[in-house]
């Protein structure tokens, strides 16, 4: 992710990367590749969505956020107890979750956490399936936590273990 000479417009980004096999996110003039999801990543996404629904949330995966014209991130999960906005969310909901892939560029990930906070997401989580850690963005930094909203971390990792056995 070196500094780029030419800043992409959103139209240029969509023409160049819109139908790519590799997922990209538009981020302030740059095309940032999304990590390639591993098995653990894919199963964890399903598990978290199911557990969030059990906790009373409506959860969606890989939804493009259109909150700011210059950034179009696609977090792994968003969840709300309110009405889901269609066709794309234009304002923050309660929960946003990024599940780490082995090739997630960390600087970009932390920048997205900062943006989610500015946009008004209440609970911003980064979940590491390899390190079995859940981080919550506090507004300035990531901190390790032992539950995701009200879901204990142990319940999440047990479900993941069962899924990938």
């Amino acid at each position: 992710m070196a500094a780029i000479a030419h800043r992409l417009s959103l139209a240029e980004f969509q023409a160049k990367y819109g139908l790519s096999d590799v997922a990209y996110e538009y981020w302030h003039g740059e095309a940032i590749p999304k990590g390639m999801p591993s098995s653990a990543h894919g199963f964890l996404q399903g598990i978290l969505m199911r557990l969030l629904e059990e906790a009373g949330y409506k959860a969606g995966g890989d939804v493009e956020l259109r909150i700011e014209p210059d950034a179009r991130p696609r977090p792994d999960i968003i969840a709300t107890k309110g009405k889901a906005e269609t066709p794309y969310p234009t304002k923050a909901v309660e929960i946003v979750i990024e599940i780490l892939s082995s090739d997630d560029p960390m600087f970009h990930l932390l920048q997205k956490c900062g943006a989610y906070h500015e946009w008004g997401f209440e609970f911003i989580y980064v979940v590491d399936p390899e390190g079995r850690q859940i981080y919550r963005w506090t507004g300035k930094a990531l901190e390790t936590v032992t539950e995701l909203v009200s879901i204990p971390a142990i319940r999440i990792w047990d479900a993941l273990d069962q899924a990938i056995q």
């Binding site: 992710m1 780490l100 082995s102 900062g114 590491d128 930094a141 390790t144």
Partner: protein, 212 residues
């Protein structure tokens, strides 16, 4: 009376030696729960500067011994330094800090790519490496003040950055406010305490024999 005075002198000498032998003790960790047990009082989150001079209002300064700083924190799209492979040095205010919590990483590095090694060197010469298990959180808690931290990577085309910096008083600190004595004595301390104890017992035995 003279014998009693001698006991006290021996005990004081043993205790003094044990205290002098206590070199800097450092605990480190990569999660917030253990950080909270390593500090006394509450942490302060510093606000990272967004332009030169690269100094926070509470006195932390950021330099790059083999490069130039152009960013701290997560503002902008560039990393903190202008040169690949460069080192980022953080200098502490007030003669040093005893407990620091960092969110850090490598600009183009990946979270769980085991090859992305971040190296951390403290001013007392202690070195830590994330080799094989990178985590965005790193903290240290020290019995003595640390005056600087240098962050680097083995990967030549990488640049370290920090996303946040918090500080507090270490629970290990032997000086300053709110500090306590280190709960983890060093081997040398154990030896000196044991030697002091033996001297004490020997002197006591002699005194009893003398009384009889």
């Amino acid at each position: 009376m003279q014998q009693k005075t001698r006991w006290i002198a021996i005990c004081l000498a043993a205790g003094l030696c044990a205290g002098v032998a206590g070199a800097t003790t450092i605990d480190t960790g990569t999660d917030n729960a253990s950080w909270l047990t390593a500090i006394s009082g509450t942490q302060t989150d510093t606000t990272l500067p967004t332009s030169s001079p690269w100094t926070t209002t509470d006195g932390f300064s950021f330099t790059a011994p083999n490069s130039t700083v152009r960013q701290t924190g997560l503002t902008g799209s560039n990393s903190g330094l202008t040169t690949n492979g460069a080192k980022l040095e953080i200098t502490m205010p007030n003669g040093g800090e005893t407990a620091i919590l960092l969110n850090l990483g490598l600009f183009a590095g990946y979270y769980v790519d085991r090859s992305n090694t971040v190296n951390i060197e403290l001013s007392d010469g202690e070195q830590f490496s994330s080799a094989g298990n990178f985590n965005p959180i790193f903290w240290f808690s020290s019995s003595g003040p640390i005056t600087s931290i240098t962050i680097s990577s083995d990967i030549p085309n990488e640049q370290p950055f920090i996303a946040s910096l918090s500080y507090a008083t270490s629970i290990l600190a032997t000086s300053g406010t709110g500090g306590t004595t280190s709960p983890i004595p060093e081997p040398a301390t154990f030896l000196l305490v044991a030697a002091g104890g033996l001297i004490f017992l020997g002197a006591r035995r002699r005194w009893f024999r003398h009384q009889a």
